[in-house]
Structure formats: structure tokens, C-alpha cells
């Protein structure tokens, strides 16, 4: 199966795509990361899993639609960035799981990551308690990057505008759950600065 075909499977949420990629490059990636960066085998597997998750997210965001390199080069590129990030953070002696790299990826270029990391766990837990259709709707929009037109069709709303209004309500519900329980001092209120 060619790279564009695999990318297409992933984008269409056909789970065969991601599992195919996972099994295809697993051995080579893990051997390469151990050999190149002297990583512990268990850590190498965590790097690999985080890299595949990031690859998935980038695919869903359409970043691989006009991929110039091969899928393998792209995946190994993600792995290299994670390994360098790890070296920079000097956490080599400390065991860090795939969650650590995924959090850093989600919090891209943000300062004060330690505080935000705690928040991500709290928000993620609160999000899982959110009822339907809010859980599904917000997940489709912010995680699966679906358009309001697609969401409206999937969840059976009258039109995209109705889905959009529902999204506002759902976000407010989540905001109340999260920040109703989270003390302001546990999240940063530093003035926003555009990069």
C-alpha cells in the first residue's frame, strides 16, 4: 500500500491505516532511536508511541496531504525532534512516558509547561465526565478537526449554525466544570504575548 493510500485511510478514520504504520516501522524506529540516541529500550518504545500519535494528529489536521517526503522520513523526523527535546530537557535519567511528549506537543511553544501539564490532566478528566452530545461534538471539532458542516451531518443538527451554537454552550459547560473546581492560582494568568 502506498503512502498516500495509508494517509487516506488514517484521514478517513479507518484504524487499519494507523496500525499498519505502527507495525511497519516499529522495529526499525526502535532500533534506530536506541542506536542514535543511546535511549533505553522502554523509553524508545514510548518515543515511538508518542511519534505515532503525533503523526496521527498531523494527518488529521491535513498536514500530510501534500507530503513531499516519505511517510517513514516524516515519522522519523518526529522521533528525532522528540529525542532532541528530551536531550535538551536533560531528563535522560528520568523515566518519561509517551504522555509527557504528547503534552509538550499539545502545549506547543508555551511557557510554564509544568503548570499547564497538571491542567491538561484535570481538563481531560473533566472532559470525560461531560455528557453527550457535548463530548462527541467538542471531540469532533477540536480533536478530529471536523468542520461544522460535517458535525452537523454526523450529529443530525438542522444546520451548521445550530451545531456552532451548541458548541458554544458545550464549551461554557466544560468551562464551568473545569474552572469551577480549579483554583485560579493553579493556572497561569500571565499576560498573553503573541509570538
Amino acid at each position: 500500500m502506498s503512502d498516500p493510500e495509508i494517509i487516506n485511510l488514517i484521514r478517513n478514520e479507518d484504524s487499519r491505516g494507523l496500525s499498519m504504520v505502527y507495525e511497519k516501522f516499529r522495529n526499525e524506529f526502535i532500533h534506530w532511536i536506541i542506536k542514535t540516541y543511546g535511549t533505553d529500550p522502554d523509553d524508545a518504545r514510548e518515543f515511538y508511541q508518542a511519534s505515532i500519535v503525533i503523526l496521527y494528529d498531523n494527518t488529521m489536521a491535513g498536514k500530510l496531504d501534500s507530503l513531499q517526503s516519505s511517510l517513514k522520513t516524516y515519522l522519523f523526523g518526529i522521533g528525532k525532534n522528540l529525542a532532541l527535546q528530551q536531550l535538551r530537557l536533560n531528563h535522560r535519567k528520568q523515566k518519561t512516558g509517551a504522555e509527557f511528549y504528547i503534552k509538550n506537543y499539545v502545549l506547543d511553544n508555551q511557557e510554564d509547561k509544568m503548570k499547564e501539564e497538571v491542567n491538561l490532566e484535570i481538563i481531560s478528566q473533566s472532559f470525560s465526565t461531560l455528557g453527550e452530545p457535548c463530548h462527541e461534538l467538542l471531540s469532533l471539532y477540536y480533536y478530529k478537526k471536523k468542520s461544522m458542516e460535517e458535525i452537523s451531518a454526523t450529529l443530525g443538527y438542522k444546520n451548521p449554525e445550530t451545531a456552532k451554537n451548541q458548541k458554544y454552550k458545550c464549551m461554557e459547560r466544560l468551562r464551568k466544570i473545569v474552572f469551577g473546581t480549579l483554583h485560579p492560582s493553579t493556572y497561569s494568568t500571565e499576560p498573553f504575548t503573541e509570538e
Binding site: 487499519r16 532500533h31 518504545r45 470525560s128 453527550e132
Partner: protein, 253 residues
């Protein structure tokens, strides 16, 4: 703080990147000058990040399930061994290993290989990575979702019945692979073989996996020659099953 709807709307549109250039400049100015508005923005930004993290966490868990049934990479085992072996233990361990090998060889020589036992040692049911059962009220309940849920719950009898129904409607590689696994567990080896052979003949995907399980099905029935032939093919593949197949071939011999 009681945010007004207009501010919330602005923030949503900013995060969705749907503001005009002028609106964007105005909003960024407000973010610098109005602490309350800034806090509201930060809250929404964190919520979006938390939702994305929650989804990616779920994806990571699915990968971990898949990883749990894949064979260890050979290099990983070597590395672990390297870490464990301190130099002063090496001579002692070498003697112990030779002795152990002698004992094992002696018993292997005395006792024929138990293929059923080898099967049990090597077989791990392939996980449902095709349609993971996720927490959502929006997921419809039908034969399809029931089949995958039964497989995940290890109710292989129910899963097999429902998978067969699904196959009558449409032939799918994932369903064939899981049905083959369910049949293997239920002891329906010849039916399992049919599933794997159909998968190998009719689809490009999951070829190595199907061959691996096909080899195991022959082993379970004691048809060593067929098992060896198939495992030989698997051992030449580029997938992680190759090293596992090589090891198993050595044990069968």
C-alpha cells in the same frame, strides 16, 4: 467573572482562526491591556488543549493495546540482557546457562515437543484495533458494534457468530482477522484457517499477521510441516513477527 457572550464569541473565533485581520489586531490589543479578558482567553485555550489531549490519550491507549500483542523486538531483548549482566556475573552466568541449556536439551531429546503447549505459549489474541469501543452515547448499538464489543469482552462465541453475519454482508480484512482469532480460541482451527487464507488471498493488508496465525493454527493441530512452511515465510518478512517466527521455528525443530 461573568464573561459576556460577545467576548466568548470573539475568543472562539480567534481560536478557530476565523477573525478578520482588523478583529484580530483589536483582540490581541485587548489581551495585552485587559487582564480579565486575557484570563478568559487563557481558559478557553486550555480547554481546547485539554480536549485535544484527551483524544490523543485515547489514541495512545489504543496503540498500547496493539503493542501488547506484538512480539518483542530482538534488539530490545538484547539490550535488556546487556543492562542486566554485570561483568563479574558473566563467567558464573555462562556456566549456569550452559548447564541449563544441557538440562533443557536433555529433556527436549527425551521428550517430544508439545505443539499444543507451544501454541499456548505463542498465541496472543490480536486486539480490536479496527473499531475500538469508546465511551460515547452517540455510538449506535447494532451487530457491528456488538461484535467488536463482544470480542473485546472476550466473549468469543458471540463475537464469532456476529462477525460471520457481518462477513455475509461484506468481506473485510479486520473482521476476517478477528474472526480467525476467535475461531482459534474456540478450537475451530479449520474454520480459523479458512478465515486467514481468505484474508491472505483477497486482501493486501494484514498478510503477515494472517500468516502468523495460520502457522499457529497448524501448530495447534500438530501439522508441523505446514506450520514450518508458513512460519518460514513469516520469518522472511520485514515485520516484527519475523523474529518471533524464527524463534518458534527453532523450538519446533
Amino acid at each position: 467573572m461573568n464573561p459576556n457572550l460577545h467576548d466568548i464569541d470573539l475568543i472562539h473565533r480567534y481560536l478557530d482562526r476565523s477573525l478578520s485581520d482588523e478583529e484580530k489586531v483589536n483582540l490581541e490589543k485587548r489581551l495585552k491591556e485587559e487582564p480579565e479578558f486575557n484570563t478568559l482567553y487563557r481558559e478557553h485555550q486550555m480547554l481546547v488543549q485539554g480536549i485535544r489531549y484527551s483524544g490523543l490519550q485515547e489514541k495512545l491507549n489504543q496503540l498500547r493495546v496493539l503493542e501488547s500483542v506484538l512480539p518483542e523486538t530482538v534488539h530490545v531483548e538484547d539490550k535488556k540482557r546487556q543492562i542486566r549482566l554485570h561483568s563479574y556475573w558473566k563467567p558464573l552466568l555462562a556456566v549456569a546457562a550452559s548447564l541449563a541449556l544441557f538440562v533443557v536439551l536433555f529433556f527436549l531429546w527425551k521428550k517430544p515437543v508439545d505443539h499444543e503447549q507451544l501454541f499456548a505459549q505463542e498465541f496472543k489474541a490480536y486486539p480490536n484495533i479496527f473499531e475500538p469501543i469508546v465511551r460515547s452515547d452517540a455510538q449506535p448499538i447494532n451487530d457491528r458494534t456488538e461484535a467488536f464489543a463482544a470480542y473485546e469482552a472476550r466473549d468469543y462465541q458471540k463475537a464469532a457468530t456476529l462477525f460471520k453475519k457481518l462477513l455475509q454482508e461484506k468481506e473485510e480484512p479486520g473482521v476476517l482477522l478477528l474472526l480467525g482469532n476467535a475461531n482459534l480460541i474456540l478450537g475451530n482451527t479449520s474454520e480459523a484457517r479458512n478465515n486467514f487464507i481468505t484474508l491472505i488471498n483477497n486482501f493486501d493488508e494484514y498478510d503477515t499477521q494472517a500468516k502468523w496465525y495460520l502457522g499457529l493454527s497448524y501448530l495447534k493441530d500438530g501439522d508441523v510441516k505446514s506450520a514450518q512452511l508458513i512460519l518460514q515465510e513469516v520469518s522472511n518478512s520485514e515485520f516484527s513477527y519475523a523474529s518471533k517466527a524464527k524463534e518458534l521455528l527453532k523450538q519446533i525443530e
